[in-house]
Amino acid sequence: MLTTQAELTRREQVAPEHYLLTFVCPPIAEQAQPGQFVHLRVTKGLEPLLRRPFSVMNVNLSQGSFQLLIQAVGQGTQILAQAQAGAVFDLLGPVGQPFPLPDGAEQVLLVAGGVGVAPLIFVAERLKEQPAPCYVQGLFGAQTEDYLCCWLEFSTRCDEFATATEDGSAGEKGLVTDLLDKQLDRGGVDRVYACGPVAMLAEVARQCQEQQVPCWVSVEQRMACGVGACLGCVIPTRCEGSQHYQRVCREGPVFAAAQIDWEAMSPELDRC
């Protein structure tokens, strides 16, 4: 992890309130692993004061760049959504534990909800680049077709791909977890990686446990320091039956789904 600066070179609106930002920052491009995030200062001033965490969506090693997919939900993300190319931001990264990628060629199922697709695009890319490439199945859910952000970036990296929208405007009408249910029933899945709203992750975790498929999820929490010092970002986890808190910025953001105490997780952070 290092503190560095990144120059915004491109900003593109990809859906209502959703922006794809490209930054040049060679050390992050080189070091970031799928699932890790950058902790970004959106302003040099005091408003907003705290840094904002965003998952790395992909990297381009030859250009020394990386991309973030950002949903404008409040003051900090609004500033990023309006930033101009050439703007320079302070950032801390890469932060956190990445998804533990398999050594061999496995069948891996990726479950993305909304803006949660970002880290999974990076995962899919690395799974296909492995010496023994994995068979990658992607499932992507959003409210409507418009909100299937960067679905092309996702689908082109998957061997199989399906979408679900709540209004049926694209793919199956319903939730992405309905698709998951069918896939798991079919069998053959070696592991599942998921990122999205808490309610979705809890359902993914439940299904995977039922089918005894190992599952890892990337979770969100409000953060201050991003380095493990403030203990603001913890989530409830279970270890040998006893409950204790672990830091999303240090032990996470990727956790084995079975480790998380889903009943104690508050859906308060859900936006989708």
Partner: protein, 290 residues
Amino acid sequence: MLVASGTFGFGEEYAELVDISRLGGICTKAVTLAPRAGNPQPRIWETPAGMLNAIGWQNPGLEVFLEEKLPTLRQYEVPIIVNVAGETRAEYVELAARLDNVAAISALELNISCPNVEHGGLQFGVAPDLTEDLVGAVRQVTDHVLITKLSPNVTDVSAIAQAAVAGGSDALSLINTLVGMAIDVEGRRPALANITGGLSGPAIRPVAVRMTWQVAEAVDVPIIGMGGITTAEDALQFIMAGASAVAVGTANFVEPTAALSVIDGLIEYCRHHNVARITDLTGAAHSGRQ
């Protein structure tokens, strides 16, 4: 130049990013006798130029601190100030006694802004008699330098400061966080699970400078000033109000090297104004008042 308790963990979290050896010392996260899980989420909430926190003393307890955290902290070769917290007088005394023969630490910082269960939840640090009694009891069991950390949530901070000094405190640190609250209007509920939390960051600086000024007029022991320091100019305000040392807290979260930038800025100020030692400026504003 210190880093404030609870904002720098046990040092290891920042070791990768900050040249810790340049700091004047580290105040650890609060250490309690037994491990504490801390409060449920949400624990933090951002506010204008500040933040509310209700972490709830999450820490691994005294034993793990001594066995695991302290050896790591020692590697940075800076003074270690252990922030101690308890729910009863006996807990504070036991903590202090067990830390007394630990040579690796430079000082104890008594965190007295904690609920006192024996007195129906009243905080030790809000009543002069409780403060003096607690500091006195701890003083009896430790030869370490004893720093009492004052709460700003009091009517008369000078009276508490005097009580801590009467109890035997060698120095005072202030301020701890101001009790505050925010409402999550979408959820129509308190923003923090704990309902209230401690406000920190630039927003509280004027209050902290004022209290440093008042305490400097009331007592003769060294003061460690803190509350919203992000720049050298902020630090100078505390020093000129009467602080002999300063601590950076919330600003560490914003910029891990914040304390180092403040040091650089203070050196620059001293050079520019021909000040031999930064402590020559301690209390300078008291003589300069109109």
